[in-house]
């Protein structure tokens, strides 16, 4: 068998998806015009699948900070955090995160993927167990697999199922790490974090939450789902990314365990990769300030996603269980989902088409993510686009 033969099926699938027009997966964005507008397939479209929740990619303060960092500190660090890649600004961002979350330790990573990979694969190991939500992101799965710990899944957002599994495990293992996301990336639904905290308390497990899709969106200070539910201090580890609401690139882990800091020296995904560019760090720091200073951005985002959720519900789309920054419409048939995606694009609206195995079940999704930068008129047009699918 040739090296590439095993990719034949996936190659066929993607060829099929692309045969009637622009690629729905890895869609070329020919030009980006603003946080909410771009050119796709020669036409100007509304971008409604970019995770640009607060719309900060073109925020003047963020751009200015990035430009100044480029001028002052250059294009790249050319080294790992443990070698020559820890600038004053990397440390300053860690201090700012630590302060924002009211936790003793913070570590900044080059991407959110690496934050999950590094932390999870390192803090637990052989003899320990991980119990994670079944719908967790690939980076959580990969970190878990690399850790060497026994990996167990609990039914998506089902704290009773988690409790049952933890009880079965407790007497048998070393340390136990429970992992969930704050808001789930595919359906936009929120973890029942208070109930999960109960399980943690009863079992003495450690609890980690990935707030990739909730930082800047939930909680009175925008710190995420745990803050929204008043249980931030119960989190042993809060992870997240700078690549969504903060409009940049990078990831973080914060913890009130002072011991986290020493873990730096053991995480391969942190040690053996170059640190974030100075410009990335500068834009993140500026975006973090904007996020804290302008809570009205999350209010606006919430109004948008509640409107889109209600609108799509009215159009009889099958949606996730509750409104969230991601509103996903579900299709049993991938061909129907693809056809809907093309109609939406021709109506001038770009969303994400997600097909199995990237979706939690066997179904396909049209995944729309909203932004505080969308205008009310753009939301009208997004809804009008969806109504064309149904007509």
């Amino acid at each position: 068998m040739g090296l590439f033969d095993k990719f034949a099926d996936i190659a066929d699938l993607y060829a099929h998806l692309t045969k009637d027009g622009v690629a729905p997966v890895g869609t070329p964005i020919e030009r980006v015009l603003s946080p909410t507008r771009g050119i796709v397939d020669g036409n100007e479209v509304i971008l409604a699948g970019t995770n640009n929740y607060l719309g900060l990619t073109y925020d003047p303060a963020c751009i200015e900070a990035g430009k100044a960092a480029l001028d002052e500190e250059g294009t790249g660090t050319t080294g790992s955090r443990l070698a020559n890649g820890s600038y004053q600004s990397h440390h300053a961002l860690e201090a700012e995160l630590s302060h924002a979350f009211g936790m003793r330790s913070a570590i900044v990573f080059t991407t959110g993927y690496q934050a999950n990979l590094g932390v999870i694969s390192t803090i637990v190991g052989r003899g320990d167990a991980i119990v994670m939500d079944a719908d967790s992101h690939a980076s959580i799965y990969d970190g878990a697999k690399m850790s060497g710990a026994d990996v167990h899944r609990f039914r998506h957002n089902d704290a009773a199922d988690l409790g049952k599994r933890v009880k079965r495990l407790k007497s048998k293992v070393g340390d136990l790490l429970i992992i969930t996301e704050g808001v789930f990336s595919m359906l936009g639904d929120r973890a029942p974090i208070r109930e999960i905290v109960e399980v943690k308390r009863e079992s003495g497990a450690y609890l980690m939450i990935d707030e990739a899709h909730s930082l800047g969106i939930l909680g009175s200070r925008g710190l995420g789902r745990a803050e929204e539910e008043g249980c931030l201090q119960e989190m042993d580890f809060v992870l997240g990314t700078f690549s969504k609401s903060l409009g940049s690139v990078g990831g973080y882990c914060v913890s009130d365990h002072a011991g986290l800091d020493a873990v730096r020296h053991s995480m391969r995904a942190y040690m053996f990769t170059a640190s974030s560019t100075p410009a990335s760090i500068a834009t993140v720091r500026a975006a973090l300030s904007v996020m804290q200073a302008r809570p009205e951005l999350r209010t606006r985002l919430r109004l948008h996603f509640e409107r889109v959720y209600a609108g799509l519900k009215k159009l009889d789309f099958v949606l996730g269980p509750e409104p969230g920054p991601v509103v996903a419409a579900r299709f049993e048939d991938p061909a129907e989902a693809l056809c809907a995606w093309r109609r939406l694009l021709s109506a001038g609206v770009y969303v994400n088409l997600v097909v199995p195995p990237a979706t939690p079940g066997q179904y396909s999704l049209l995944r729309c993510s909203l932004s505080a930068a969308h205008s009310d008129e753009e939301i009208d047009r997004i809804l009008a686009g969806y109504s064309r699918i149904k007509s």
């Binding site: 167990a129 990996v151 167990h152 899944r153 599994r165 079965r168």
Partner: protein, 82 residues
């Protein structure tokens, strides 16, 4: 403590149930291939595992499942976790 006979009986029964429910005229044995012959998808395997876990009040780590192909393999990983 789970003994092998009970374990074997339960795994065979659950796999047979699945075939019957999906109108597959197949007599399941230890050598039956769950993926190729029974045609379980990875989600079906998850469900089958859950039924086993509930039946014996055990937790099967997913680390071991990558190697499960046959009904016999599933019996082995279940015995290991019990």
């Amino acid at each position: 403590m789970l003994n092998r006979v009970d374990c074997q009986e339960a795994v065979l029964r659950l796999a047979q149930d699945y075939c019957d429910r999906h109108n597959k005229s197949l007599r399941v044995s230890e050598s039956t291939d769950l993926l190729d012959e029974v045609g379980l998808t990875s989600l079906d395997v998850m469900e089958l595992i859950e039924s086993l876990e509930d039946e014996f009040d055990i937790a099967l780590p997913i680390n071991d499942l990558a190697e499960v192909r046959s009904v016999g393999d599933l019996i082995e990983v279940t015995m290991k976790a019990a």
